[in-house]
């Protein structure tokens, strides 16, 4: 007997928090109304000033449709630019109760002219509010900051501090110095004071350093992988430079950088810190303690062992209270909430990963 496939309705499914949704401009000029005249002219005349050879795309062209879901293109503009399509294709059918916007480009860290970067960041934040968050209360913005100038960044954070539309501060792990360096500490101080987590989302733009310790990779496959190694070294810097000792209220979400590497990295940090601890007297506890207390990891792109149970073991090592579901909509390697885990999590584990952990981290009702 054939049983018709029945798609569960939002009402019968677990409502989820999606920790990684990417909005987009319908066209570049969408930003102009939010920029002062001077910077609008600058944008038109000079454009962005990046640390890479190509200005129109990254130097490792992405795979499928520039890295976007081919079914997510609206009639006009790129995927992620049409709120109505985002609702119809993702928020409604997948039961997204809260969606975290991850606005990546323009101003955050890739622009070399820091005054321009500050103006762009401010404009992007206004644009997120007007275009997405005000019309769609399920969405939350992230504060884009010109992270390479801490004073500008702190100003932008403080400007958004009382607005609950902004849930976190978006920082690129491809910074110009490792993020544990003191020049970023004012940003962490502001994050702690304003009670916003730092969202470390992988970035396609370089902050001025090669993506590996041996220089630049050749293929996109390698550059894509470097998102994971870059996230590992960024976390290493934050922990071993003592950021979490200095800012005990700081919380960090590591987004789209993989997560199954976390236990091994913690073991490695613990082992060699123990041997070398005279060098880092700022640390009072083993490195893994700080990770366990201060860090959250999002799932997409989820690693897929041949034996799905291995993934469950690794999540247990990280902590079921520290892993948060994300889709990366509308990017090509989108993870679907129904299919992300090939093993069968318990109901409690599902509630935590798909909803409760994010609600606790972001203080959502």
């Amino acid at each position: 007997m054939n049983i018709p496939v029945r798609h569960a309705t939002a009402a019968t499914k677990l409502a989820i928090v999606d920790c990684d949704i990417h909005p987009a401009f319908r066209k570049p000029s969408d930003l102009y109304p939010f920029l002062p005249a001077q910077w609008r002219e600058h944008m038109i005349t000079f454009g962005e000033h990046l640390r890479q050879g190509l200005s129109g795309q990254i130097a490792w062209p992405r795979m499928s449709a520039s890295g976007l879901r081919v079914d997510a293109f609206p009639e006009e503009g790129p995927p992620g630019s049409d709120l109505e399509l985002m609702r119809r294709q993702h928020l409604d059918p997948n039961g997204v109760e809260v969606g975290m916007l991850m606005q990546l480009s323009k101003g955050g860290m890739e622009e070399r002219n820091l005054e321009f970067a500050a103006a762009l960041s401010h404009a992007i934040n206004e644009w997120q509010l007007e275009t997405f968050v005000k019309p769609e209360p399920r969405l939350r913005a992230g504060i884009v900051v010109p992270q390479e100038d801490a004073a500008f960044a702190v100003k932008e954070i403080e400007h958004r501090a009382t607005d609950p539309s902004f849930s976190q501060i978006i920082i690129s792990p491809r910074s110009s110095d490792p993020l544990g360096h003191r020049r970023y500490w004012p940003i962490f101080e502001a994050a702690q004071r304003c009670k916003r987590p730092i969202a470390l989302h992988v970035q396609g733009f370089s902050g001025g350093h090669a993506s590996t310790g041996s220089g630049w990779p050749t293929y996109y496959m390698q550059e894509h992988y470097a998102a994971a190694t870059g996230m590992q070294t960024t976390l290493t810097s934050l922990v071993l430079e003592g950021v979490f000792e200095r800012f005990p209220g700081l919380k960090v979400a590591l987004i789209e950088g993989g997560f199954t590497w976390a236990p091994a990295l913690c073991w490695r940090m613990d082992k060699h810190w123990e041997r070398m601890r005279a060098e880092t007297p700022q640390l009072k506890r083993p490195p893994s303690d700080y990770v366990r207390e201060h860090c959250w990891f999002t799932t997409q792109p989820v690693e897929e062992p041949d034996d799905p149970q291995h993934l469950a073991e690794v999540i247990a090592w990280i902590g079921w209270d520290r892993v948060m579901f994300s889709t990366d909509y509308p990017h090509w390697d989108f993870d679907h909430p129904q299919h992300v885990f090939k093993f069968q999590p318990t109901e409690e584990q599902k509630r935590k990963v798909f909803r409760d952990n994010a609600k606790a981290l972001y203080g959502l009702p």
Binding site: D177, T212, Y219, T233, S237
Partner: protein, 372 residues
């Protein structure tokens, strides 16, 4: 736990690099003059990656006497060979020559070190084998040095650093792999950096311990480079050995590459099967350091299960680096079969030249003739 059986092959042992004075007799007149006249010979060629007094660089009980740790053959025998019952040990001399920008000088020094290793170590202790030092930043020179030294079959591997000028899978490096494959030499990538690039994708870390932790990310990047460029397809019998790399990061890499390849295979069409399979077949990792929670046998055993192969691990002490205490060089809880694979079978399969070494050590009298 202790090594329970005789005949282990220690795949990563570090005799102290020779002093410049010791090297002078192995250099030609031009380079002797250069090193002396320019006072180059008066200064050390220590690698920034291994500060001599750093705790990682030598175990406290292996810092004996006035000499350098690993700087004396009797000490190596007493501390590194006898206690573990090693039948062979592969010497990886971590010398700073590779960090020189001057490729001519780097080449001259690498050659001198290789000759010094043969005469001062290999000739005097039949259990020792060695890696060939090459100036990896000039593949043509590196190949010339491999061709010069390869006839001495006590050299079993070509040695390069985890962080250098470029990712090593790149096509300009391929002549090195052609030469290695032809001569039955493994390619060894060892922890350490020539600091041509920042050790982190976000720049220069402040502390030594951060650099050391970041070595595992560098090994991951090198592995991706070999994989994506198609080195293993071009050189099907090549073995890549990651030394002092740690290995508990491997499952995540195997899972991530096997998945992402499904979406990206069009970019690298020569990768004709799952990266996990290719890596398990071609790549080996040395045992020390064992980066797993002390006292938690389960975490390590589960990690080995996640790696999904008992063929990848090669026994190593990493002498005199401080990675373990006493004689507990093996992790607890390993089965007898796994121990046998790690200690003996895997190394012998990885380094075909050890097989003819087996005959040599059984017949010490003809030792010199057979290998020269």
């Amino acid at each position: 736990m202790k090594v329970p059986i005789k005949g282990a092959v220690d795949c990563d042992l570090h005799p102290a690099p020779p002093t410049m004075e010791a090297l002078l007799p192995y250099l030609d007149e031009y380079w002797r003059d250069q090193l002396v006249d320019r006072h180059i010979a008066r200064y050390s060629f220590n690698l920034t990656s291994y500060p001599p007094n750093s705790p990682l660089s030598a175990r406290p009980d292996w810092r004996q006497g006035s000499g350098l740790p690993g700087g004396d053959l009797d000490m190596i025998r007493r501390q590194a060979l006898d206690p573990f019952g090693s039948r062979f040990a592969i010497c990886n001399v971590l010398h700073g020559a590779a960090a020189l920008f001057n490729e001519d000088m780097a080449m001259a020094l690498c050659s001198a070190i290789n000759d010094w290793v043969a005469k001062e170590l290999l000739d005097r202790e039949p259990r020792l084998r060695a890696s060939i030092l090459v100036p990896a930043h000039n593949p043509e020179r590196a190949v010339a040095e491999i061709e010069r030294v390869a006839a001495d079959r006590r050299f079993v591997q070509v040695l390069m650093f985890a962080m250098g000028d470029t990712l090593l899978g790149r096509r300009p490096c391929w002549p090195i792999y052609a030469a290695a494959e032809k001569h039955g030499l493994a390619i060894g990538i060892h922890a350490g950096s020539t600091y041509r690039h920042a050790p982190m994708a976000s720049g220069w870390s402040a502390h030594r311990v951060e650099d050391y932790v970041a070595q595992s990310a560098a090994f991951e990047s090198q592995l991706l480079s070999f994989l994506a460029e198609g080195v293993f397809q071009q050189f099907p019998s090549l073995r890549l050995v990651l030394s002092e790399s740690g290995f508990t990061w491997l499952p995540s890499l195997l899972w991530r590459t096997s998945k992402s390849w499904r979406g990206m295979r069009a970019e690298v069409p020569w990768i004709d099967r799952s990266p996990g399979e290719i890596i398990r077949e071609h790549v080996r990792v040395t045992l020390q350091p064992v980066d797993s929670p002390p006292g938690d046998t389960t975490a390590l055993l589960r990690t080995l299960e996640h790696i999904g192969s008992d063929r990848m691990l090669l026994f190593s002490t990493d002498y005199p680096h401080w990675q373990f205490d006493g004689d507990a060089v093996l992790p607890d809880g390993l089965s007898g079969e796994t121990v046998q694979r790690i200690l003996i079978d895997n190394p012998l399969e990885t380094y075909p030249r050890l097989q003819d070494g087996a005959q040599i050590s059984d017949n010490a009298a003809s030792n010199k003739e057979a290998v020269r």
